[in-house]
């Protein structure tokens, strides 16, 4: 069996920001239960043995972990490609130099909009200026820079400005990712879902910029799932290419799969290899045998793998159904009615910010 190419290592759910589309669980857990440095080293080594090539260090905010540099060094010594996904808060010059010396290959910094007022409002914290300073530091130290921008109703019309910001910061890549509606994002969906008109306008701007700036930077447009005809090929297939380890050691096929009613697996109880190859969790939706119609008889079943199991579960209560985003799904009306509501010019719904505190702080 092929091992996973990529490991998403969620080092902590702690984060100074309050982004209302955060992909972390609604229950952020207890940081005293987080995996220790030694446990992460073992996870990285088991992942490398299993065939993993890339490790994405994420969170929450991975820089909140004091041992992030030694985790990077361990990954690097195992030959893994290391990618830090960060808000950049806490990326001081000294810390950045330590990370670079530890072998960190790539840095992705999130920004919330193209100017401080709007960005800080979305992040729930004054952070924009610190982020742009950190982005300049990343370039100064000779790292490649990717800016990640999550798009939604409140910043999609600023897409041109966002691309200009990426240019001004000399980003090598800018990832323009439309919000995915899980966890906090699903809770805030009515306030975040853009109208069809907004999406169409933004697509034109992005297409023009991608052509015009072709030599300057790579522009990655992550499609707005709800506005597509067919679902995304989530994770490149269930248990096919990627695995996630949560701050507390749970192993998942994707970061939101903890919501599904499947037996939990933990690195504290089993090896990554056993979990990847043999567990009920990783085999539940592997391949195409589990598929119901319309997926089973669909020509696209090896293209989009039936879409996203977590989205099917969140919207229909059954993880084995076709992703409702698909126009062929019997549940597609759930999506069309959400979009119809977003096309209304009704006032913006209230956003619920992601909570800042993990349980022990309450």
């Amino acid at each position: 069996m092929n091992g996973p190419l990529g490991l998403l290592a969620e080092l902590t759910y702690g984060c100074p920001l309050h982004c209302p589309y955060c992909s972390n669980p609604r229950d952020l857990g207890d940081p005293r239960d987080e995996l220790g440095t030694g446990e992460w080293e073992r996870v990285l080594s088991e992942a490398a043995d299993l065939g993993t090539l890339q490790v994405h260090l994420s969170g929450g905010e991975p820089l909140l972990r004091r041992d992030v540099t030694s985790i990077v060094r361990s990954a690097s010594e195992l030959g893994l490609y290391t990618n830090l996904i960060t808000s950049a808060l806490g990326l001081s010059e000294r810390r950045a130099e330590e990370l670079r010396d530890a072998g960190l290959d790539h840095v992705q910094i999130s920004v919330q909009a193209d100017e401080a007022g709007r960005a800080d409002e979305i992040a729930g914290l004054r952070s924009f200026d610190r982020k742009t300073r950190a982005a300049r530091l990343v370039k100064k130290l000779g790292w490649p820079l990717t800016l990640n921008v999550v798009l939604h109703r409140r910043n999609l019309d600023r897409i041109g400005g966002i691309i200009e910001l990426a240019r001004a910061l000399e980003a090598d890549r800018v990832e323009l990712a439309n919000t995915q509606y899980y966890g906090w994002g699903l809770l805030n969906r009515d306030a975040l879902l853009p109208s069809r008109e907004q999406v169409a306008r933004a697509e034109t701007v992005v297409r023009d910029a991608a052509t015009r700036l072709r030599e300057e930077m790579e522009i990655i447009w992550v499609l707005p799932d709800y506005h597509e005809e067919y679902p995304k090929p989530c994770m490149g297939g269930w248990g096919a290419r990627q695995l996630t380890v949560t701050p507390y050691g749970r192993v998942l096929p994707c970061p939101t799969a903890h919501e599904l009613p499947l037996p939990a697996e933990s690195v504290r109880e089993s090896s990554l290899r056993r979990i990847w190859e043999e567990s009920e969790l990783f085999n539940a939706y592997r391949g195409t045998d589990w598929m119901p119609d319309p997926c089973r008889s669909c020509a696209r079943k090896e293209t989009d793998f039936g879409g996203c199991r977590c989205q099917a579960f969140a919207l229909t209560g059954d993880a084995a159904r076709t992703d409702p985003v698909c126009r062929l799904s019997g549940d597609h009306h759930i999506i069309t009615s959400a979009i119809a509501a977003s096309d209304d010019n009704s006032p913006l719904a209230q956003l619920v910010p992601r909570s800042s505190n993990l349980n022990h702080d309450h």
Binding site: L5, L50, L53, Y81, D105, T146, D172, E218
Partner: protein, 86 residues
Amino acid sequence: MKGPRLAPHVRLAYDKSRGRQVLLAPESVTTLNDTGAAIARLCDGDHPVEAIVAELRERYSGVRAEDVESFLGKLSDLRCLKKGGS
């Protein structure tokens, strides 16, 4: 001398569990055959295209300059080469 160079976010690596050479980037893995890996290894900024072709000819027979150029074009389309390189 100035020649093509791998982009700063791209790393050439050996994928030992699958027995193949790969180019790693944050969100992609590009599999290379032996000649592809030999070319990628020479994308260090110090080898102009002609020098890459000459080096390959010492190791492999039937190396055609246009094949090397077209391979470099593919790497460039995949954003694996440094901007403004070659």
